[in-house]
């Protein structure tokens, strides 16, 4: 019986629920780069050494070794930049959009994708004010969204907030190390 329960638990873990879009990317771009009317994709192809450095810093390597930053401008004025960061959890992937001001501080964070299973956890965490706690962070800071909502949301919302923290930490590390320090 015990074995059966274990097998069932493993089967449940392996069967990840489908992905759902919580916020469409264009809507996230509009919110995180307000007023921008021109965009540039900045693909940073990491060398082995830099990829290793990033991995050591935040335990993460971007897909195909390429970091993509999206810059937004309103006329000739830089509005900011944003990244979409994927975090793989045992329940499936989530995607976090992290927007930066021209002063290199976090303007905002939006969870754009999750899975059917995680969607209510994300919504509860966001309703508890999770994303407000990231505003103003700068490279080198540690995001503490999960701790901040610990007394205002359930365990699963707090758990998913920890995963969002990871995404924000990755975005901060990538932005701090590679956004402006490598010239096109």
């Amino acid at each position: 019986m015990n074995l059966l329960m274990r097998v069932a638990a493993i089967a449940m873990m392996l069967h990840i629920t489908p992905a759902v879009v919580l916020v469409k990317r264009p809507d996230a771009v509009e919110a995180l780069l307000p007023g921008a009317d021109a965009y540039t994709a900045r693909d940073v192809h990491l060398s082995d050494v830099d990829a290793h450095r990033l991995h050591v810093a935040v335990d993460w390597s971007p897909e195909d070794g390429v970091l993509t930053f999206y810059k937004g401008k309103a006329g000739s004025v830089l509005v900011g930049a944003l990244e979409f960061v994927r975090v793989d959890t045992p329940h499936g992937p989530i995607e976090v959009a992290v927007g930066f001001t021209p002063q290199a501080t976090v303007r905002g964070v939006i969870v754009t994708k999750a899975t059917v299973e995680m969607k209510p956890w994300v919504l509860e965490a966001v309703a508890a004010g999770l994303t407000n706690h990231y505003q103003g962070l700068k490279p080198g800071d540690s995001p503490g969204g999960a701790a901040a909502i610990a007394n205002q949301a359930g365990n699963l919302a707090e758990y998913i907030a920890g995963e969002v923290d990871k995404g924000v930490a990755r975005a901060l590390a990538a932005y701090g190390a590679f956004y402006n320090h490598v010239r096109a």
Binding site: P26, V29, A38, Y39, A41, S47, V182
Partner: protein, 181 residues
Amino acid sequence: MLYDLRRAALPIKWLVTCLLATLGLSYLFGALMISLYAGFTPQRVAATYAGPEMSMRMPPETTMVVEHPITRADFAQPEVHAVDTNLLIQDTHVHVPMYGIIAAALSVVVVGLPLRRGWALGLITLLFAAPWLDFAGMWLTKFASARFAILTLIGGWAMAAGYVVVAALAVRHMWLSPERN
């Protein structure tokens, strides 16, 4: 012949009809899901299953940057739904047994139809071979060549064709044939 759907009791005919209708509904939504995630062209199937594992990207000696302008509409473009090896293992584990059960159910219907032995054997073979081709195409696309994506398409269309032929023959013989009870 002991088992002849033309002369089967009404509840049996109704059971088979309901089974076919249910399978047809699930196949319709299957096709819709394929259009959302993999597509119906060899290029899109290859993009879904071959993925980056087919092209071993070499990291540059030093970190380099490439910039290019994009429009807002580019953010709305659908991303390629990539199936990596782990997901393909899971898909194979989940789908193949189910396809086997569906092929067996349709084969039981075939056996109850007044078909020549060769036609019946051919149809049963098609029903089982189609999902094999479907999944063989996915695995070969991932590990051999993107050109094998065509096998997945052939397998998928063969599954649909097998279902349509069996459903049409069953409805004809059970409900429209002059020899029915």
